[in-house]
């Protein structure tokens, strides 16, 4: 029997590793990979709570399905933006894409 705490701590650790990736990496694609790790941590959390609190409910799995769809859409658009910015500025380093900087 696995206590709920194991899943929650594993999901929290995955979330914080993704958070570090988003904050610390320079490459824009690496930042997106950190966001994907955070979304996966959220999915683990949702399914763990669903399984341990009330497996008869459908709110948990429905939420997870929507998170899957949203993550796919966000990655597609984000990578399209990065590729487009790369073609114009020849860089994928996030801090060098600074056209809007004052």
């Amino acid at each position: 029997m696995i206590p709920l705490s194991w899943y929650l701590v594993a999901a929290a650790a995955l979330f914080c590793i993704g958070l570090f990736g988003v904050l610390a990496r320079r490459n824009a694609i690496a930042i997106l990979m950190g966001v994907e790790l955070m979304l996966n941590a959220v999915n683990i959390n949702l399914l763990a709570f669903w399984r341990y609190q009330d497996p008869q409910q459908t709110a948990g799995p429905a939420f997870v399905a929507i998170v899957f769809v949203t993550a796919a859409a966000e990655v597609a658009v984000g990578l399209a933006i990065i590729i487009s910015a790369y073609r114009r500025r020849s860089t994928v380093v996030a801090e060098e894409i600074d056209n809007l900087k004052g």
Binding site: I17, N27, I44, V93
Partner: protein, 171 residues
């Protein structure tokens, strides 16, 4: 203390997931980071299977690994020439990000451990096929989640059109 096989499997899945995630955020070569992301997503699929969310374990492999991670590898290949793999891969204040991430983790664990349900054991699932049938019914039922379901399909269409338009190259 006795460690059951299922606990051992969980520890293996957690080690794969978290170890690969650490490699994703610290790998020098961005393509290696993308491949470590694939390994981490496999670990997450294992965790889903342990939670008896078998549908989501398969969807994780097919959608996240088979589509999203492949898209990331495409993008890495298409933006290969500029960023050298030998320069700094993290910003100069990376230690601050590490401290912040560790603080968020500590805060989450402290807050969760004060909840009385933290050490819950799972209730038994009488019929393991029932959740999937219920989910399918809920996603198309007007009293349940048909609106988010249909809106998410419109979201995918919008993302598809948007991504094509943004990345389009006129010859």
């Amino acid at each position: 203390m006795q460690i059951t096989p299922i606990q051992l499997t969980f520890m293996l899945a957690a080690v794969i997931t978290l170890g690969s995630a650490l490699m994703v955020v610290s790998a020098r070569n961005i393509l290696h980071a993308a491949l470590w992301l694939v390994a981490s997503l496999f670990g997450v699929a294992m965790l889903f299977a342990l939670l008896q969310a078998n549908f989501f374990a398969v969807v994780q492999v097919v959608v996240y690994i088979g589509a999203i991670a492949i898209l990331v590898i495409f993008a890495v290949m298409l933006t290969r020439r500029v960023m050298q793999d030998s320069g700094p891969q993290v910003i100069r204040a990376w230690w601050l990000a590490a401290v912040l991430a560790a603080a968020v983790f500590a805060g989450l664990v402290v807050m969760l451990s004060s909840w009385r349900g933290f050490w819950n054991l799972p209730p038994t699932l009488a019929n393991p096929d029932a959740p999937l049938v219920q989910l399918g019914l809920a996603l198309v039922s007007p009293n349940a989640y048909v609106v988010p379901f249909e809106v998410s399909s419109v979201l995918l269409l919008a993302a598809l059109i948007g991504a094509i338009y943004v990345a389009f190259q006129r010859k």
